[in-house]
Symmetry: C2
Subunit: 346 residues, 2 copies
DNA sequence: GTCATGGATGTAACCGGTTACAGTAACCGG
DNA sequence: CCGGTTACTGTAACCGGTTACATCCATGAC
């Protein structure tokens, strides 16, 4: 305990040791003004010797830049986030930025969200915890945000990255109906207010109408895009006294599909012989489920990557507005009833 | 542009409007000194009216606390991280802390890791990017760290949370050998230096010796605990001109198992009829793979939770040292050859 | 009535960087 | 030889909080 053991090396210590002013050290650090070769070399050595690492908070305070971006999500209970995080990470890696993850849902404990202008330079928003008004407020304060799987509020040009939901759901439902003759298709909703779920439901309803199949509220379950929620929900449905007929299930997400398959299995309902099942996302495990899962491939890693790139564009004062809509495609495997020998579909 | 649009509300603005000093405002914010009821009420209102949010960097600079903890991982390419992140998140949620994720591997571009004493109050370390010496250095500087799936360097008491690997691998291999008569078992390594992989390999070698089965270097593949790496590796092995016999595969992780199953499938090798396969982790999808995957259940969410709790103990000056070793258990399903009718194993 | 005590508040230094402004020396063209 | 650049460096104010120290007042013990 010769000195305050906590006290770390500051820029002034470095400056003194190198015989220059703090300004020069700062300039060397940020290479935003010329520093002579001799001085640079000396500083480099001194910093290394002293194990100097600039104090982030001091830097942020003075420069008004945190070099941190935030990602706000409802929760992390989903394998879906792995590709998303990877997309984000891939872009951040290149820059000299950090990455803060926070969960936030409607009615969260803390009123101001854990990430925002006070601790990040910008954020990716994959959460319905913030109202449209809140988004507009952030936007007009010039705080960079990029929405993920969410449509920008009306009259704003907040950039957004999402995937095509409705058309592809229509295609998938048509496949159930035309190819497999299904008529009683269960639709599993995602979390309330989740937009993907909204669009998928629109597609679902559209198809029913187009095929003269009556809409039945009883066939709408809540899957929460979550294996556990979906499992509970499916279980409850199956155990219901006056359970209605059904011959197919669109689970809304691959993760939910896992829960559904588990429930069906426990009731000895065979897939696809008795009911068709389809998911959404095409997560890595989908092709290896039992049976291999028919699903919709969503380019989630690309979503993360593009959203982050767009955020960096904003941070670097380039203009970014409007929605980037990435295409999705149906991946037919066995769970819908198609009799592929094995899923050698690619 | 009446005022600098970027300029946000500061504590002085609040103080002025409320007719008190900044000190009082600060005390109200941190409730670390008495503030009269009347003043409190007034401040509450003023803050709300002005939409005041304390500037994190300023706070950190002055208080020497960032209220951020870091998680350092090699990469995020694995569903394994979902339960881990959830464990961490669950604990952080309760406190008023933030959570920074960074990837870092041996020989990363930036020498000082992206998270450390300069921008976090402590960190969870699930990465082999930092040498033992680096750990010791951090530790002696009193920077709180908790290791995850990594043994503390010798002579240190750095807390660590991990799972039992060796004994359970021995059990699993014994199952392959005793129950299914396997003798040519492929062992897939994880990433180089990954400790779980090291212990599992020790278990593997132990069992071979105990059963008088010769060790064959050709049966050691690199799976990287990653579905793509494992797939490539398996593919290469299978396509090799002088490929050796094998009758079982311990993939090292469920994620790798996916890649292995894919490769086997493409070579029309049937699991478990021709070869047994087992994974590790028991990720959510494992029971639904085709065939359902025999694996080892690791309490990954608990690892994340406990590690984070221990980190908070350190932050709050409570003593934490030594290894917490969480138990693992074998989950028998079909991929090893056991003929369960269906995987109603729970 | 006096003095000690504790509640409530204010003043100003300080945290560790950045950067506007200023200054010096070397160099260059005419 | 001189005025104007350009390269490099230094001084000190500033970013927005926290907190040590001081002050003031009301209360209660004696």
């Amino acid at each position: 305990m010769t000195k305050k053991s906590k006290h770390s090396v500051t820029i002034r210590d470095v400056a003194k040791k190198a015989g220059v002013s703090v300004a020069t050290v700062s300039r060397y650090l940020n290479s935003n003004a010329p520093v002579s070769v001799a001085t640079s070399k000396r500083l480099k050595k001194v910093m290394k010797d002293m194990l100097y690492v600039p104090h982030a908070a001091a830097r942020h305070l003075a420069s008004k830049k945190t070099r941190v971006i935030g990602l706000l999500v409802n929760n992390l209970h989903n394998d879906f986030f792995v590709p998303l995080l990877n997309g984000v990470e891939a872009v951040i890696q290149g820059r000299d930025y950090n990455f803060m993850i926070a969960t936030y849902r409607e009615g969260s404990r803390h009123l101001p969200p854990p990430v925002g202008p006070h601790n990040t330079d910008g954020m990716l928003l994959f959460s319905d915890g913030l109202s449209d008004e809140a988004l507009v407020a952030l936007n007009t304060r010039n705080y960079p945000i990029v929405l993920v799987h969410r449509t920008p509020p009306e009259f704003t040009k907040i950039p957004s990255v999402t995937v095509e939901n409705k058309k592809i759901t229509i295609e998938l439902m048509e496949h159930f109906i035309k190819k497999h003759g299904k008529k009683r298709i269960i639709f599993m909703r995602g979390p309330a207010n989740q937009e993907d779920s909204y669009w998928r439901e629109l597609g679902y309803r559209h198809v029913l109408k187009a095929n003269n199949i009556p809409f039945d509220e009883k066939l709408i379950l809540n899957g929460g895009f979550d294996r556990d929620v979906a499992y509970e929900s499916m279980n409850k449905f199956l155990s219901s006294e006056n359970r209605v007929e059904f011959d197919a299930i669109f689970t809304g997400s691959d993760d939910a599909a896992i829960g559904v398959l588990k429930a069906l299995q426990q009731y000895s309902i065979r897939v696809p012989e008795q009911v068709s099942v389809a998911g959404f996302d095409d997560l890595g495990f989908a092709r290896f489920l039992n049976p291999p899962l028919t699903t919709v491939r969503a380019p989630t890693e690309a979503v993360g990557r593009i959203a982050t790139e767009r955020l960096f564009n904003l941070l670097e004062d380039r203009i970014e507005e409007g929605v980037v809509l990435l295409p999705t495609e149906i991946v037919i495997r066995r769970s819908c009833g198609c009799q592929f020998e094995s899923s050698l579909d690619e």
